[in-house]
Symmetry: C2
Subunit: 206 residues, 2 copies
Amino acid sequence: MMNKGLLIVVSGPSGAGKGSICRQLLNTVSEIKLSVSVTTRNPRSGEVEGENYYFVEKKDFEKLIEKDDLLEYAKVYDNYYGTPRKYVMDHIQQGKDVLLEIDIQGALQIKERYPEGIFVFILPPSMQELKRRIIHRGSETEASLEKRFQSAFEEINYVKKYDYCVVNDHLDQAVERVKAIIKAEKCKVTKDIEEIILKYKEEGLC
Amino acid sequence: MMNKGLLIVVSGPSGAGKGSICRQLLNTVSEIKLSVSVTTRNPRSGEVEGENYYFVEKKDFEKLIEKDDLLEYAKVYDNYYGTPRKYVMDHIQQGKDVLLEIDIQGALQIKERYPEGIFVFILPPSMQELKRRIIHRGSETEASLEKRFQSAFEEINYVKKYDYCVVNDHLDQAVERVKAIIKAEKCKVTKDIEEIILKYKEEGLC
């Protein structure tokens, strides 16, 4: 029942499949806008400016921080990553929904700054399956694998801070659940309801 | 993320179309159980015991009230109508979703006794359309029409007490919205989440 768009934050441990869910969601619901992150790391081969990331210099990123132009940011091994506030807020004000795929620390920062967002935690069907998926990516050493698995294991605790939790057992069904969450959220009775009541009443009096 | 079933209470002013929405929902989602009301009024031609209503004697209805066996009840022109508690609670405990189509006063009684229910208010697309639908039913005198319309007009205010509000502009779309609400509610993070976290942790330690 809202005129503003929704900010849908999809998050969860690595290996849970939040990337696949977001891709399929964007492919099937054309109205949803993807929030593109800004980073100081170098583009990898094939990455497109404004599609995968906005690539900026470190000094420009620090200006964004200074001017409070980021909804969240983090420094990972000397590289900054962040979510530009303006893109998200402009679209929401125009009534468009914005999707943000982000790690758990980023999601929690956003929740502090924009609690009206819809926070969706993606769970793997099981820890064994999560392990299998992390191994399957193949780009890890045994030690970093173990570390990544341990971190996913701890991250599961954060699901408590989210509004919704979607088990990614079958990709199609998981995407349907996220779509249902978005549709249901648009039917929620919020404080905007007073305006709607007024509209019905004015019309009823004509 | 819940094992218990949901109680979905569909309510709204007469003419909003809650009956059509519930019928279509039951026809397309076979797992949902309809809660059948109990009444002391006589069966009308074609009405089936246990399908349209449970028909009981007045003294038996009063026993149900006494024993607190009703989730809600009302007396309308000398006839009692009520919602048997046991049917609803048994199914919910078994993990089945129960649908209840009910007027606003009944819904508000249920909300007091079972606030975990999902309360969905059906709105007509406009008051003019509501008027047209009430007239179209054709079974009313001019005076009772005006009264019914006036009461619908006042009932719109109660939407504030509900969790969700679905505008019944197109029946199919309205039904899709109710389905989305049910699907999304099943993904909500509730206090049951602790159990789920534990399950993942135990499995991860194996």
